[in-house]
Symmetry: D3
Subunit: 254 residues, 6 copies
């Protein structure tokens, strides 16, 4: 099983921690390839960055060579999943949905703990479209930017744990989803701070991808238009002179 | 990993095919124990049978000895899950929800193909309560009773495949859930008849249980009352003189 | 008119107070028969107890002899109604729904005041399935167990009245439903504490049953399967050596 | 118990049949006073007529002298109920809601059979606002005007029965509400044509009013403004030189 | 372009300020005719007044002579729009909907700041029926009556600004709708008090009416019944000896 | 007033017809600048193209110099609006929402007539997120690709008119939204084919933009992060060596 995980931002350190977390939970026999977009924001914190990122995510996955069995979009609340799913014939799993699906299996209501205020609207719209909103008790922002998580991990940990505690105590959450791919390293410590399960969407998505592979479940291939429209400048990384060379396909060569 | 699967009816043949299907998809290292309730309907086809079955399911799981890591309730549209989850501290997964969760990951909208007309209301109420209804395109009844599935497998297959085809063509389903534990043997053949993924909830639940175990995710233990009410006649199988003897714990000895 | 009221727990004192309350509001000419299940929890406080109770309720009603015109399920938030309705051809009224229907006729929004925290989820799911949730302003738990209501009626009264006052003041409730059959005796005192109508579901259900009888309204008989599945061990009370003997049909002889 | 029923149109024959139907189901000891507005449409078939009628209904009830225990607004899908409820301190019951409440107690889903196409929107908005829409399977128009019901009762009967049959067969209705006060006389014949219960809202409202009276349930009196606005020209019937003289209070003297 | 604006109450000063506000935003070439009902409440603060007002609004518009291109109902949360739209073939715009539509274009969620508590239910039901409720963050009552707005403009201003500030800070509103036609004069001052756009529904409706005229968009004429029911006493102003004389058509002559 | 309209595809002919249609309805004094993205699909027909387009739309608007008063995103069902709104401080109007808002003012329910099947999901998710779905009767696909509209205008016209007629006759639509910016030239002819108003979103958006300008309504500026993340490769057109040179700012120079 080969799973491609695409980060939504261009911060290699986050790609790296996503890769580490995914590898830690992957079954033996699962190969994890985590890739970083060739362009786009170093952190996605709102719709403006999200839509630049979505194109970069499509572009980055288009540059992946060889066969793979699933794609994971490692951005919480992000948008590219439906676009990726039209591009490839294997399951494409967003970590937002992966986390929420497991959360629904673990408790009656779940909460999301995320970064900045602006992410709240975006996450709630994503859950609404995914039909996963009715059991969402709350989405709590910590006020931390994506890149703050790394800068002061102690402070980040405190704020995330506090938000999780409030979600349990005041909103009735019985499970917590970590609402940012940058939080994956903190899962165990957050879990120690509350008495409900804490779900990292990357890990959840890896196991769901493996499950779908084991069950030989693949989405119906997307309907292709008889005359597909041309795409000027696509794939972008070629036109940007970024991207892959033989033997380096999964590294960013910017 | 030890997974207990509890059938909702008292038909051993269905327990057996559930066990077989579960074992076929289980990872190496996963032990599947499928059990049959000590009392209750031979087939559950409506709320009357469902509520007798729910008590029997609780009773049967109470008789399971030894440790286990997950419980699967193998009845589509059935009710015991929330009760079981108060009883044990491991994840309890209903096949209704397991199938619907995977279906949501595989297509925009999914349909359920089930047995008798009366099951439609029950399944739709279960999906509503689970918050999994908004992406459900339709629930189609074949008119077949649970026990008809076995009596004339050819006819059953035809009707199920036809309902699945209509769900795809008319309701826009991009994934099909088999809406009865008695249909698990037919999955591959139904899948061959339509061009969308076909999901058997038992298999789905096994993989989700394994995923939760791998991720060390367990639900918060249910709040216990300080003074628990007594339960007259509980567990029922003891008072009915049914149930387990040493070394035979997982077999029905009625 | 003969109305059978089935308590959901095995506490005779609650059956007795339900009977008293029902008789107090029944029209002359209405016969009230309140019965207690032969087995099951002394108090239902969550889904585990609820599903044991549901089977016991079906079993108990199956033991009632003679004709009757309506069945009332006297458990707030409980589950057996839809099962009972498949079993008998007369109206089966749950006190949850009866209370909520009258509440909707009496005010724009209503609240439910109930016992333990865990009941909140169960009541809200019941109202959701019944389509009666949109005008429900809140469900407030007092933290009292079902059996606490009787042990310290003064304390119970204080807590219930306080919850009702908060529902009016903070949630905008214009009617209050007593969310437990064990609260029926307290209705008048709670009503004195708030300036909105207070509804006891048992009384409400009695009057609705009488109304339906007067209007000659009966549900369509439930579709019966051509080959009904067998039910192993049914009715349970016979196999448990509980139940009725001539002349004592409505008493519990455990 | 004295119940005032206010017709929403100015057709005395409909007031008369409403009175007859109400009296037929009223308990002994219940006095039914049916009144006709002093002005307004002879039939209400849309929002234009509905809003004229609503003012006329308020005006007509304002002219009723003496005490009464409940008011029933006898117009299906009509609007005055919330206004009446601010005017009087006894329960005000719309026949739309009364019928739908009983329908929900009698079947899983119900349908409404009404007159002209335009009424469909109005009824659906009324049920939405009342929170009674989720179990409504369909609202079917017969194309008959309110006054056609009387002109050719045979044709009316055929069309209503046909719509009811379709609601059962195609929409899954398990109860039918007659969606026009002008249909009350036809209830028994429609009921004979389908195998599900058929509910006349006037009869339903009478029994609900009696039930509320028996249970001593009254809505909280409407909050009165400290300085109530003046109402120019109110009550309208005085300014229109219509209305009541001593001893004739309940008759229309136009 | 000629736009008729009908106040919902009989307070000429409010009609006057509505007219002023409308004229201030109207394009050159737009003629604004603001009219006052011939009868009805001096202020509408609940459903009782609203339904009297609705009939008076229909009646007043029926008295307008000459052609016009749009009708605006200048009452927030009021009910006549759907009735007016069956009466005339030009667009009829309620200020409630006009304000909410623009608010949705200006921010993710909006709040309404209104007068008395009782208006909250009415506004929320109007937004629900209009399908404009999902993005409404809150409806906040100031406790001020409609006529208080004029009596102590300073106090009114303080309370409205405070409610708007709370809506932004606590409810997440990104736009504020002034929830009463009597507030139109205060828009600029409220806008100065918060950092989100503040929308007066009268101004919004004028621009929407102009837009529809420029785009030659008119609603489909309402279906007329083949045999329209008679309306006793209609139009009311004639029977009340109120209304228009030649050359004075738009003034109130009571 | 200067309004920037950004096409979502790279087909200049569509930009041109959008510009023409916008200019035709703009007030005198309104300057329309229609721009084409520097890269991206020649037609957007699904989420894959939509997300490439969204980045291209952000990129193209970033290249616009000088002040402007509103931005219109001319792609039905497309996604960039929320991203654009974080980028600029003037109103950003999507034609999807503009059309739906006017449709709600013109009829009780509206339908959308669009191009390929795949657009249906995308449009319905956009309306859901915008809270404009509840009055949407249907979204009907003609099966025509975006670029087919121009290739055979006669056939396109026939299919669109037929879909509109069915929406009126079968779905109860009282207004039709043209669900593709490529359809703007056909509006008058479609309008001639049905008896309900037909709305072109580009024209609607222009008038709404003018209305907001006249009312001095601007959205609250988007919260800016204290440390905005860097965006690698942004704006894309610079890195792609596309884009603007002095005096040519609004033309595409690829």
């Amino acid at each position: 099983v080969r799973i491609v995980i695409v980060n939504v931002n261009t911060t290699e350190a986050i790609t790296e921690s996503v890769r580490r977390q995914a590898a830690a939970v992957a079954a033996s026999g699962t190969q994890i390839d985590a890739v970083t977009p060739f362009f786009g924001p170093t952190a996605v914190e709102g719709y403006f960055g999200s839509y630049i990122s979505a194109a970069a995510v499509l572009d980055r996955v288009a540059a992946v060579t060889g066969d793979y069995d699933a794609v994971i979009e490692a951005g919480f609340g992000e948008s590219a999943q439906a676009g990726l799913q039209e591009m490839v014939d294997v399951p494409v799993i967003s970590i937002t949905e992966a986390a929420a699906h497991l959360a629904c299996l673990l408790g009656h209501r779940y909460s999301v703990v995320t970064t900045v205020n602006r992410a709240v609207r975006q996450i709630s719209e994503r859950l609404l479209v995914a039909g996963l909103n009715t059991r969402c008790a709350s989405i709590r922002a910590t006020g931390l930017g994506v890149l703050d998580l790394d800068r002061d991990a102690g402070l980040a940990m405190d704020k995330i744990a506090e938000a999780a505690r409030l979600a349990v105590a005041e909103d009735g959450a019985e499970a917590i989803c970590l609402g940012c791919a940058g939080m994956v390293d903190l899962r165990d410590r957050v879990a120690a701070a509350v008495d409900v399960p804490v779900i990292d969407g990357v890990a959840a998505a890896v196991k769901l991808a493996e499950a779908m592979h084991a069950l030989r479940l693949r989405p119906r291939p997307a309907e292709k238009p008889s005359v597909p429209p041309e795409i000027v400048g696509w794939p972008l990384h070629r036109h940007l002179n970024l991207g892959t060379s033989p033997g380096k396909e999964l590294s960013r060569v910017l």
